[in-house]
Each structure stands twice: as structure tokens, then as C-alpha cells.
């Protein structure tokens, strides 16, 4: 294409630069942006904490349960946590806009809590994590899942072992 043709085409197309902030910015669906944590799906395995190269993820034991914190300003948006998370408890949204005023810098955290619960069977205090049921055969029904989840790790293991498996 000679330059006059390019010139004519560009005239017709208008500017190639994005109109942002006056208009929307190009944001693909798969863009790897801000981390989102869903405590309800978390198994508490802490793999994400281990594979995070930036040490942006911290779990801590508190009287209420286990807290999850991901510091957005430390995160390098690599997606290792999401990739290695066995459930889909942690994932990267396509929200890239993390601009904030300096006063808010300590609030740039994704916070979550896996609360403590009392085991319905033995009464021990344990984390209300999502049970690991990947290998359970046949797959658990909704009631079974709720029953399983309400137990402590020991009673969960017992529950799965004693589960009547239809032949």
C-alpha cells in the first residue's frame, strides 16, 4: 500500500489512539487484572500463597477463622494463583483500573475470611473450608455436601469413608 492510500485510510478511520479516559479502553475478556477471592469455594490448601512469586497473598489464623489478604499493589498479575488453585476460589478479573489516591493505599487489598465453625459431629472448632471432593465417587449430592462441609477435617474423612456407595 503506498503512503497516500494509508493516509486516506487513516483519515477515514480516525485516530487509532484510545479515547480513554473520555471513552472506554480496550479491555479483552481474558485480560488478567485485579484478583478476586471467593472464601466460599476455598479449600484452605494455601497453594496460591506458595506459588505466588510476589508474596502478595497472605493467610493468617485469627480467632474468627483464617483470613486471606491479597495486596493488589504487590501482585504482579501473573495468574499463578488462579492457575494452581484446585477450586475456582481465586481468580483474576479483567478489571485493570487500580488507580487510587495515596490515602487509600492500604485499602488496596482483597480481603476474605474462612470462618470457624463447630463440627456438627464432634463439636471441635474447625475452619469452614470447602471440602475436597474432587475424587469422591459418585459425586456428592447437595445435601451430602452440606453435611460434609459442616464437619471438621477428621469427621469429614470419617464421613466420606462411611458413605454408602451404591454398587
Amino acid at each position: 500500500m503506498n503512503f497516500l492510500t494509508i493516509f486516506a485510510r487513516n483519515l477515514k478511520q480516525g485516530p487509532q489512539t484510545e479515547a480513554f479516559p473520555l471513552g472506554p479502553a480496550f479491555t479483552p475478556e481474558r485480560l488478567r487484572g485485579r484478583i478476586e477471592f471467593n472464601a466460599d469455594h476455598c479449600e484452605g490448601c494455601r497453594i496460591c500463597e506458595r506459588v505466588c512469586p510476589a508474596n502478595a497473598i497472605r493467610f493468617a489464623k485469627t480467632p474468627d477463622g483464617m483470613t486471606f489478604d491479597c495486596w493488589h499493589n504487590t501482585c504482579v498479575f501473573c495468574g499463578n494463583c488462579e492457575f494452581y488453585c484446585p477450586t475456582d476460589a481465586i481468580h483474576q478479573t479483567n478489571d485493570w483500573d487500580l488507580s487510587h489516591v495515596n490515602a487509600d493505599k492500604f485499602d488496596m487489598v482483597e480481603h476474605g475470611l474462612i470462618p470457624n465453625q463447630k463440627c456438627v459431629e464432634c463439636g471441635a472448632t474447625a475452619l469452614n473450608t470447602a471440602p475436597v471432593i474432587k475424587n469422591a465417587k459418585p459425586p456428592l449430592s447437595a445435601e451430602e455436601y452440606t453435611e460434609l462441609r459442616a464437619r471438621c477435617p477428621k469427621c469429614r474423612a470419617k464421613y466420606l469413608k462411611n458413605r454408602k456407595v451404591p454398587a
Binding site: M1, F3, L31
Partner: protein, 366 residues
């Protein structure tokens, strides 16, 4: 002052911070009039400590860290690192993962080459065309962002395969983008062959002869432009390259123009390879879906990054962290050749010649 008091040669410093150089490299250049008579290259102005850091991170964290060694070869580093880990642990990457690795590799090559050649046009002083070429590259950058979620650190690699997958929709999208880039690249090649300003500034400038190329041990497009017909993708195939119709481009002149032309031709080849990969993409898993411990051992692997051969040495022990990671990057091999290229060059061509080896100091002075 009478003219015979003026010394015949001047010494001019170029860098380590210089308007025409994007990277911290220092040249002490003796000039006679407008002509370079002697060059001293002094490197080592930046040290990022990444080799040390790799021994403080686990193998799985290091895939991310090695990706950040270089932004333009950001796929080759984790890929070669993962290849080394897989060699030690005897991990076999599933067939689909092998093809997807190639896809990621070639997409990065396309955008990296377009970037370098665009910069050359900028240094030639043809600003309008530079803008146009960057806009063409932007098609590729949008493609990376849409498929991988990031423009530079695409995060495609993991130990045991790749982290992403393609569906019909994304394959159709890539094909569309490739068509656009291909048509534009063909035009750029035509312009490079006919445009007077580009030809005058780049033909016969910064010549590296075949013999000098062998002496310096240059790699990548720099070697191929001087008639060294060598490409790791063909000599020691990794990923899916042994099954692809790879064409290795080489020219004989060894000037700035030839190096740009090799890169432009390689873009077209990469697009062909991508199309074959997308056509032959096998089914099945994209990775081993596991996070095995890497046993103690050592391995050397290499791959063809956009800038040339990159070699990884990895030694592991019983801990999750590697004991030693060392890499040899293409720029390390290529920058010595600048001594030959800059000899008798015009002062105005210095920046252009330096750019023509596609220097990357962020990976060389890690």
C-alpha cells in the same frame, strides 16, 4: 585559533544514558571528522540480581520471575526454564501443550520483530512510517492481550505445558489478526525494498561480514543476516518445530538493511507456522495438570528467542528452590560484533547500528 591546533580525533561518549539509546550501555567512540575510528564498549551499568533471586524462589515461582527478565523475549525465558525443569524431572508435555507453546512463541516473535524494525525506521528519521509500523504491531499486541490477558508478560508457560487454551472463537480471531499483519508486513517489505530514504540510510551500513560473524559467534537474525544459516528451531528442535515447515532466512550482506529484512521475512514465516499450528492443533490436555517436585539434577536447554539463541542452565537440589539458574542471552553474544559494525561508520548512524542488533540489556545485565 588556527586550524592545525584542532586535534584530528575526538572522543565522544555515547551512553550509558543517551538520547539515542534506550538502554544503559556505554560507548567511548573516537571519531575522525564524521567517521568512527575506534570503539570501546563498556557494559555492566545495571545489575538486577535476578539470577540470585531465582535461588530464593521455588521452581513454580521462577516461571513467573524468568518471564520478567526481558519484556520482548518474555516467552522464551520461561519456556526454556520450564524445558530444563522438565528435562530433569522427566516430564513429558502433552501434544496439545507442545503446539500451544509454539503458538505463544511465534506470536511473540512477530511483535518483537515488528517492534525492532519500527524502531529502525524511527532512527532513520521516517517518523510517519514508524507510527504506521507501531500501529501494525498493535494488531499483534491486541492479539496477545486478548488471548493471554497481557500485552507483554503473556504467562503462557508452566512447567509441564501451557496455562492457556484456544477455542474455535479465539482461533478464528487469531487467524483474522494474522491476515491483517501479513498483508501489512508484505507492504512493509515492499517499502523496505523501494523507499529511497530507508535504502540510503541502511544499505551497506554497519556491515558485519560472514567471517566477523563467525569470529564473534553472533546468534539470531544478526547471524543470519551475515550468512550464518543457523536457527535453533531447526538445529535442535523443541516444542513442535520438528513437525513444522520452518524456513530459515539468511542474507549475505550483513548490513543494517539485511538484518531488518531477515526479521521482516521471519515475521511472514512465523505467521505461516502459526497457521499450520492452528490447523493441526491436536486435542487433549494442554498441561500435565500437576505440580510435581523437581528432583535433584542439572540440565541445559536452549531455544530460539526473537533475538537469537537463549541457553539455560538449571541445577536443582532437594529443596523447592533451584540451586543455580544461569542463562546466556543473545545480546551477550551479539554486542561484541558492534566493534566491527561501528568501525568507520558515520556518527549519525551509531544509534541505528546499535539498534540493528536488537540489543536487550535487561536480560544481559540481569
Amino acid at each position: 585559533m588556527s586550524t592545525h591546533n584542532v586535534p584530528e580525533t575526538f572522543s565522544i561518549p555515547v551512553g550509558p544514558l543517551h538520547v539515542a539509546l534506550e538502554e544503559p550501555m556505554y560507548f567511548k567512540i573516537d571519531v575522525q571528522g564524521e567517521t568512527v575510528s575506534h570503539i570501546d564498549i563498556n557494559a555492566g551499568h545495571a545489575h538486577r540480581g535476578i539470577e540470585y533471586l531465582t535461588t530464593k524462589r521455588t521452581m513454580y515461582q521462577n516461571v513467573v520471575l524468568t518471564e520478567r527478565i526481558c519484556s520482548l523475549c518474555s516467552n522464551s525465558h520461561p519456556q526454556t526454564f520450564a524445558m530444563a525443569a522438565e528435562k530433569i524431572a522427566g516430564i513429558e508435555v502433552p501434544e496439545r501443550g507442545i503446539y500451544l507453546r509454539t503458538v505463544a512463541d511465534e506470536m511473540k516473535r512477530v511483535t518483537s520483530h515488528l517492534f525492532n524494525v519500527a524502531l529502525l525506521v524511527h532512527l532513520v528519521g521516517y517518523e510517519t512510517y514508524f507510527m504506521h509500523m507501531m500501529q501494525v504491531r498493535e494488531i499483534g499486541q491486541d492479539m496477545l492481550e486478548s488471548i493471554f490477558g497481557n500485552r507483554q508478560d503473556i504467562g503462557a508457560m508452566c512447567i509441564g505445558g501451557v496455562r492457556y487454551d484456544l477455542d474455535d472463537k479465539s482461533i478464528a480471531y487469531i487467524k483474522g489478526a494474522l491476515d491483517k499483519i501479513e498483508a501489512e508486513t508484505k507492504d512493509i517489505i515492499k517499502t523496505f525494498k523501494t523507499n529511497g530514504s530507508i535504502l540510503r540510510r541502511t544499505k551497506g551500513v554497519g556491515v558485519l561480514t560472514h567471517a566477523e560473524a563467525i569470529t564473534c559467534g553472533v546468534v539470531g537474525p544478526v547471524a543470519r543476516a551475515s550468512g550464518v544459516d543457523y536457527d535453533v528451531r531447526r538445529e535442535a528442535p523443541y516444542a513442535a518445530y520438528d513437525r513444522l515447515p520452518l524456513v530459515v532466512h539468511s542474507l549475505t550482506d550483513g548490513d543494517v538493511w539485511s538484518r531488518a529484512m531477515v526479521r521482516l521475512e521471519e515475521i511472514l514465516t512465523s505467521i505461516d507456522l502459526l497457521r499450520v499450528c492452528l490447523r493441526d492443533l491436536p486435542g487433549g490436555p494442554v498441561n500435565i495438570n500437576d505440580r510435581p517436585d523437581i528432583p535433584p539434577g542439572q540440565a541445559v536447554t536452549r531455544s530460539e528467542a526473537p533475538r537469537g539463541e537463549v541457553i539455560y542452565y538449571l541445577r536443582t537440589n532437594d529443596t523447592p528452590q533451584p540451586e543455580r539458574v544461569k542463562w546466556r542471552v543473545p545480546t551477550f553474544m551479539n554486542w561484541d560484533s558492534l566493534r566491527f559494525m561501528l568501525q568507520d561508520a558515520k556518527v549519525a548512524d551509531i544509534a541505528m547500528i546499535v539498534n540493528s542488533i536488537d540489543p536487550c540489556l535487561s536480560c544481559t545485565e540481569r
